[in-house]
Symmetry: C2
Subunit: 392 residues, 2 copies
């Protein structure tokens, strides 16, 4: 009776949803991706009448401007497949292209948005990538909240991680302010960045101090991530106005006020760190110069310092920057950490070189770390992992 009732219920439900009906009439679903014991991966896709199918994954190396891709092989059953070499541990993204149409894997429901593109997610575990998984450890909480930003005359969305135990305790916590790159938003570090998993795991292992992590939205012309704010379901834009014109730096005080008023924070310089990737590294540099004696730890991950704040002479935040940098040095701090991949694009490497020269000239102390790889999320996850262990 139980089986019958469930079956009839299921059949009924399936007949009323388009997704369900598809499930009812199709053959047993393909397994894709299939992660083999040796960590090679087979991808499969049914497209019987297609004439070409390729796939693209971020384990593939780009050569020049050609988009890296691999050709899939068509079987007699109309199923295309491709098997990778052994993949090293990492959180990967991939997509298919079938007769020129970019498509996600219909057998993998795990997707992630990067600016205006949706890709599938795939985790190969082991080594450092185990930090990106949900392990059996105490978990922090992740809240999406809205703060009032008088400086931008709007409510704005913000993502806040509080470590396990925060809610039931009484102690105060240090705060890491963590910022995204161009085209990102307050969701970026939670999605591709794996920030809550990395922090949960490092804290559980005793390798990072319990801390609050505040993930901001640096595009002050929007109130929230695409689909989460007043812009509704408009197309996400890679280059929004007002991302690097000084307005975010000028109104960062609204965020500091909100966080210190709403959380049990250590309201001291020693209790605050600030870091960001690419554009967020640029923001880190100039926010930390403009809020003197506010942060003891700066983390610039592949920072986009080739941008020139001097190009925005109207910005209060971008005036007298040399003086502000000197002041930051004289005030003192515990860590100024700059990391970049040696395969990053030349203009960014040059911008970082110029900034280092400026710091060297005035005798400002910083740690510089050059790693493998380029301007990629695999590097930024590793930089967060390392930086989080160095602070507080």
């Amino acid at each position: 009776m139980k089986q019958y009732a469930l079956l009839v219920l299921l059949t009924g439900l399936l007949s009323t949803t388009s997704q369900g009906q598809q499930a009812l009439t199709r053959e047993p679903p393909l397994v894709s991706p299939e992660i083999h014991d040796n960590h090679s991966v087979t991808f499969r896709l049914k497209a019987p009448t297609a004439t070409t199918a390729t796939m693209s994954g971020n384990w593939m190396r780009s050569e020049g401007f050609a988009r890296p891709s691999a050709t899939m092989q068509k079987g007699a059953d109309g199923i295309w497949s491709y098997t990778t070499d052994v993949l090293s541990p990492e959180f990967y993204t991939y997509s298919f292209t079938v007769d020129g149409l970019r498509a996600i894997d219909p057998n993998n429901a795990h997707v992630i948005r990067d600016v205006a593109n949706v890709s599938n997610a795939l985790l190969i575990d082991g080594e450092f990538a185990n930090l990106y998984k949900v392990n059996d450890v105490p978990h922090g909480s992740v809240s999406r909240r809205w703060y009032n930003s008088p400086g931008n005359t709007k409510r704005r969305r913000i993502t806040i991680y509080t470590p396990s135990g925060y809610e039931m305790g009484k102690e105060t916590y240090p705060v890491l302010y963590l910022m995204h790159g161009i085209g990102g938003d307050e969701e970026a570090w939670m999605g591709l960045g794996r920030a809550s998993q990395i922090l949960d795991n490092l804290i559980a292992q005793g390798k990072a101090k319990p801390m609050i992590v505040v993930m901001t939205n640096g595009n002050v012309s929007q109130d929230a991530a695409p689909g989460e704010g007043s812009d509704g379901y408009t197309k996400p834009s890679f280059m929004l106005p007002q991302t690097m014109d000084g307005k975010f730096e000028e109104t960062f005080g609204d965020i500091l006020t909100f966080v210190d008023n709403n959380y049990r924070t250590r309201k001291t310089k020693a209790g605050r760190a600030i870091a960001g990737l690419s554009m967020g590294g640029y923001h880190t540099a100039y926010i930390s110069q403009n809020y003197p004696n506010t942060f003891d730890y700066m983390g610039l991950f592949s920072p986009a310092l080739n941008n020139k704040p001097e190009d925005h002479p109207q910005s209060l935040a971008y005036q007298k920057l040399d003086l502000k940098l000197k002041k930051q040095m004289d005030n003192g701090y515990k860590l100024y950490w700059v990391a970049v991949g040696r395969d990053d694009v030349p203009i960014l490497l040059a911008g970082i070189g110029d900034f280092r020269k400026k710091m060297d000239t005035i005798g400002m102390t910083y740690e510089f770390k050059e790693t493998d790889g380029g301007h990629t999320w695999p590097n930024w996850r590793k930089y967060l992992t390392e930086f989080a262990q160095k602070i507080f």
Copy 2:
């Protein structure tokens, strides 16, 4: 100089990510969906070598077991398109099928997962659908937290909405416990359900009382939604074990304890409501019977009462149900609300009919609302909208 620096930066970034490179080399992106002033919508898709393309959207009516779809027309430029009739206000989902391959719209980054399928999102505003938008009103906070469930010997994830003003105030709030259907999880009401937008807007309009909304995961064999828990990126399952065997009802006390210990709740019957869709309606019925004098408001949205708890004689929660129902009646409550669409599947309508007869026989009071439509999210969003205005 500014423009040059940005352009070079952009070019550099694009060359290092596969998504970016695609953006660099492709033509101007198509606009899809394009919502016209009269609320008809044009969808476009570039697939020059494809021989068939159809699309499926949940505004289309299903006829029997055929999956509703519309044929797209191919233009000389290789772009397929389809324009709908005028669509009434609603939050819609859709997908394409190109030469037999199910695909999302590559020009619409807004996607939503329903069990194991990913579809695109589309909002036509106006009327009740304005409640599904992020409007310029004070917003509540949404937290993903983990509670300890000793009854299931694991940590489990839970989604909690607190209304605007909660964090800065001192007053206590009533709590609505809100449950998903088969194949859903603690994300369902936030995604397809639009719960935080509906509550934000109703509260701002003074139509619903400020309340906490607790969105549970009723699949006790898993710790969290697919991709968010220890199962990692395994394929989401429509029918998990232990969803309707009594274990969720038996361990619901772990959730009540967590919420009352962690939030400023009204710890009285008058301060608690419980509701759910489909399987969540079934859970609502049996949780409210098993926790006597705990809830003053019950909401059963298209409840799957054709399932028979009697089929699980080992479950403590499912013993002496007739006595428990009589007790629930005798204890009294303020609202027992059952809603269903008249086009729902016959077996569900029959199960609801049987349950009503049982309530009628013992003289138990309830409100019954029959609406248009079937077993669908458009109905469940409307039921939440109506129920939220009736409670507290």
